[in-house]
Structure formats: C-alpha cells, structure tokens
Amino acid sequence: MIRAEIQSKRFGAKQVLGPIALEVARGEVLAIEGPSGVGKSTLLRILAGLDDDFDGRVEATGRMSMVFQEPRLMPWRNVGDNIRLTTRASAAAIGQMLTRVGLAGHENTYPRALSLGQARRVALARAFVVPPDILILDEPFTSLDPDRVADLLMLTRELIDSHRPATIFVTHSRHEARQLADRRAELTGQPARLVCKSGDMPQMQTA
C-alpha cells in the first residue's frame, strides 16, 4: 500500500505541486493523467522515494518497482544481467519472466540488439521478476505504435492481475488509463493538484 500527503513541492521560488493526497491499496490501479509539464514525473519521483525535497509525507510499505518512460537498461550488460543486477532475482526466475513477456531465450542479448518494444518488455520483466508490492509506471508506452501499445497494455494488465501490486500509472492517454486503471485522476493547475475523474480520492488530512 502507498499513501501520500504532499503539501507542496517547489523548484526554487516556483511551486510545482500543491496539496495532494492519494492512497492506493494492494491490487488497485490508480491512473494519473495530465498534460506535459504539469508535474506528473515530479509527483512520481516523490512517490518513488527519488526526491525527498518536498513538504509532506509518503508512506510506502513493501517492495517497489518502477517502469520509466524509457526502458533504462544498462547497455553494457545483457538482458539477464540487467534484470539480475537490479533485482537480485535468480536465473530461473529471470528465465520464467522473460518467457512470460515474450522474450524467451533473450538472457544473453544486449540492449542494443533489441527493438524499443522488446526493451520495454525487458523493463516490465525487471519490474515484475520479484513480485512488487508497489508498482509505479511512468508513461511506459510512449513512442510505440498503437498495435505495440495494445500488446503491452494487455501484458501489463495480466502481470498486474497476477501479482496485484498497488499501482500508480501516469499517462497522457485517456484510453490507456481506462484500459489499465480502477480509478482515474487528473493532475492539473498551477501549482498542480489531483482532481478525481473516477472513483474516490482521499481527502488531505489537516494537522
């Protein structure tokens, strides 16, 4: 489960995020939509524990995995090592997960020999090879053609259904959000706030 109560996030004098409260339980998928530059990635970095320079609190229990906009694979390591070194998963688990994402036998392939779609599948395999309690997806389907997006959406849905992590999914696409999420919210305004689009959102607790 992940719970956040963010009062504000600033870059210098500019306040990027306003008061934001969210809570995602195990097995739930919350989609956060919003235009470019509104602060979606900033919010995700805070939720992932990559940025602690903000006013507020984030509680995250359990193992967290993250899938980024770009696959972010180490080009000097093969696929198997990319997964093993970041997750400490066993060779057997890596082999099973690669089979599951459609890349059976690609353990020794280097990232430069993969297409973008394959690299994104490796990123998904890395996120799920050790079952996560919390999953953060930062626009993981960008720059792919519609057919590939549909395939990856289906695969991601299946993996989420299997492992049931608390999932926060940031996207530009309303269609992707509807496909994957149980609840949808939009990050909007300056400073940005989270507006509920479907389902309930928690209220900010006052101290």
Partner: protein, 272 residues
C-alpha cells in the same frame, strides 16, 4: 489466463566478429611494416653517418642487447624500473580516478578544486621531481611521490570529463530499485567511466615510464634511468641506446598487448 508469448518488434543482429577481425589484422600488418621501415631508416642513417660510437646501427645495438640480457644486468634493472612504474601507475590511477569522479559528479567541489588542478597540470615534471628529492630525500618514497604527483592531475582531468556524462536516468533507475552504493559503483558508474579510465591508463603509462626514467636519472642508484645516466657519464652512446631501446620495446609490448585490448574492451558496448 493466457499470457503473451509472441515477440513483437524485430531484433537487430549484433555486429559479428568476422567483420572486425579483418581490419584488425590489416592494422597489425601496417604497424609491423611501419616499424620495419623505422628500423630501415635508422640503419640507412647510421650507414650514411658512418660513426659507430655516435650513431650506431641496429646491427651494432643488437649484440649489446643480447650480452646485457644474458649477463642478467638488463633484466635486473628493467625489473626495478617496471616495479616503480607499476606502483606509481597504480597509485596515480587510484587517486586520480577518485578525485576525477568526485569532481565530475559534484559541481561545487569542481568549482573549488578546478583552479588547483590547472596549477597542478602546469607544474613542470622536473620541478616536481627536484622538489620531491629536496623535501623527502633521495629515496624510493620521493621517487614514487614525484611520479605520482606528475600523473594524478592528468588522470583526474580525464576521469572528471568522463564522470560528467554519467547517465542520470540510469542512476535514477538504480535508486528506484534500491541498488546498493557498491553495486551502483561497480555496475553503473565504472562501466560508464571505463573508456575514460582506459584512456587515462594508456596516456598515463606513456607518461609515467618517461618520468620514472628521469627520476632514476636524477636521484636513484638503480633502474634503467640510472644505467642510462651511468653510460651518459661514460659517453657510451651504444649502451645508452641499447638500454633505452630495451625499455621502449617492453613498454610498447605492454601498450599493444595489454592497454589497447583493455581500451577496446572498455569501449565495446558502445559499438553500434
């Protein structure tokens, strides 16, 4: 539940070895012919000058090399000098890499330390050597310190430039997956620094062995530099050339057999 097992997208083939070996063989052959041409030019020049005491030919140096090797004098002195080169090289790489990484990843430290680095880069090697001997005495420590002090700034600069292009996205990925500091250094940072480290090692070795000879020439009682100094005082040009040539051959062998393959390995993952 049905899972997707088909692979979408097409894999591009990795570059094959066969396509790389032919140019490598051609490069090796070119280097060999080039060296033979150099030896030939030397022999022609020696023949034209016709002064074996001042300008000995390769044919006159070869017997000296053989006799000094068989007597054990040359391997002994060579071993001592190589030992000094190895220690100085290891220390300079270690200190320079640590400083370069720190300066390349911390803008404020770089701003403060950069003027010091510029000063260090511009101190003549001879000044460092003389001051080391004056401050620390004519001992082994002073010799090593002098060589290391000459090399560290260059390694620092090269590693700093390499550290500036470390991919922040990969660093963020490692943080998101809670990779330990040790794992991040070993698996993320060092591979990205490898080309800079390999470049620093190659240029460093070329610089260090020359400085070691000067250090030995000025203040040590052993090593190739000492022997060159000895034969310099005796005006024995053939032996000066023989000792210098022996060391050049060994350093070129290290360069071709160790340093260049290491550098190629360090850059391999960047190949298209």
């Amino acid at each position: 539940m049905a899972f997707l097992t088909s692979v979408t997208g097409k894999a591009r083939p990795a570059p094959g070895r066969a396509t790389q070996s032919a140019p490598a063989a051609r490069r090796g052959l070119t280097a060999l012919v080039s060296i033979l041409m150099l030896l030939g030019s030397w022999a022609v020049l020696a023949y034209l000058l016709n002064d074996p005491t001042r300008a000995p030919s390769p044919a006159q140096i070869l017997p000296i090399l053989v006799s000094e090797t068989l007597s054990g004098a040359l391997p002994y002195q060579l071993g001592i000098t190589l030992g000094r080169v190895a220690i100085s090289f290891a220390l300079a790489m270690l200190i320079g890499a640590a400083l370069g990484l720190a300066m390349g990843t911390r803008a404020r430290l770089n701003a403060w330390a950069d003027p010091w680095l510029v000063v260090a880069l511009n101190i003549p090697a001879l000044v460092t050597i003389v001051l080391s001997y004056l401050w620390l005495g004519l001992g082994e420590t002073a010799a090593i310190v002098a060589v290391v002090a000459n090399k560290v700034p260059l390694v620092t600069v090269l590693v700093r430039e390499g550290a500036k292009v470390i991919d922040p996205d990969l660093d963020e990925m490692a943080a998101a997956y809670r990779m330990s500091r040790g794992d991040r250094l070993r698996h993320l940072i060092l591979p990205q620094l490898a080309p800079s480290l390999a470049g620093a090692a190659r240029s460093g070795l070329a610089l260090i062995w020359k400085i070691v000879l000067v250090v030995e020439f000025l203040g040590r009682g052993s090593g190739m530099g000492f022997k060159i100094h000895l034969y310099f005082q005796m005006f024995d040009i053939p032996r000066v050339i023989a000792y210098a040539l022996a060391f050049i051959i060994v350093m070129l062998a290290i360069e071709w057999l160790v340093m260049q393959p290491l550098e190629r390995a360090a850059r391999r993952w960047r190949a298209p």
